[in-house]
């Protein structure tokens, strides 16, 4: 049996940022991310899943969002770095509003888009969703060792690239 409209509305209100952010960071494309995020909630609505707890809902949404975003990335052969600009500007202004180092944040976002898909997915789930490697492994249906390896490789790659990017950044006049 499908979930009720009110229930769906409530779930969207609570989880839309999570689902959209996963989709956006995995696909790197704003329009595709919205499409994926909408599809995730509609899949929940149609599936009639019996989600008994808030943890269950969150796990289900994270899992489906991640897999649908990976599917979209592969199907459309999106190169996330191509579509980065449109939402980097939004992030930049948001960052300033929060008093963060927006320039560094933008660099991080750019660097993330250059990572291979498995590493990017692991990094997104680890640092955006603050999930532990065993939780990520369960969500992706992979071994913990494989997830740890992707995290380690992804982080190493990010750090190497950041070393160059940060040098460029600090050379800029204040």
């Amino acid at each position: 049996m499908a979930i009720a409209d009110d229930e769906l509305r409530g779930m969207i209100a609570v989880h839309q940022r999570m689902v959209f952010s996963i989709a956006l960071r995995v696909t790197g494309d704003y329009a595709t991310a919205e499409e994926v995020a909408q599809d995730v909630f509609l899949e929940l609505y149609r599936s009639g899943e019996r989600l008994v707890s808030e943890d269950h809902v969150r796990f289900w949404l994270r899992r489906v969002a991640t897999h649908r975003a990976i599917d979209a990335l592969r199907r459309k052969a999106i190169r996330p770095e191509d579509a980065a600009e449109e939402w980097i500007e939004e992030e930049h202004s948001d960052g300033e509003a929060r008093g963060c180092d927006a320039g560094l944040q933008v660099r991080m976002e750019e660097l993330l888009r250059t990572l291979p898909e498995p590493m990017r997915v692991a990094i997104v789930l680890r640092y955006q969703e603050e999930m532990m490697p065993d939780e990520i492994a369960r969500l992706l249906g992979k071994s913990v060792a494989s997830v740890k390896s992707h995290l380690h490789q992804g982080l190493t790659l990010l750090r190497r690239k950041a070393a160059v990017t940060m040098k460029e950044y600090v050379r800029e006049p204040a």
Binding site: D5, L8, R17, F20, E34, L104, M166
Partner: protein
Amino acid sequence: MSVSQPEEQWSRFEEKLSDAMRRVDPPEGFAERVMARAQADDRPRARIVPFLRRARVWVSGAIAAALLAGVFVAEQMRLRQERERTELARQQFEAAMRITGETLQQARQQLQQAGVRVGTDGN
């Protein structure tokens, strides 16, 4: 950001990464668009579900009828083959009896022609 403190930058790398990867808001009107799609989905689904239920009943009935018809036809074929075998056996028996009767008649006539009395009258 200071150039003179790279060590501190490195130690804060993961922290910066987490900060850079905080969740973002979906575009304006996202929830409304999802709800509109969900409600648009409801109408066709309402029509499709009863149709599928009816179709399931019809399909089940058709399968049951086909099974019954199959059993009936198989039984009829078995009875027909049995009747044919019985008829063939009866015809073969009658032919055998006719041939036997004719042979006996010929033998009796030959014996009578040879002057041998045949005890057909009980003597």
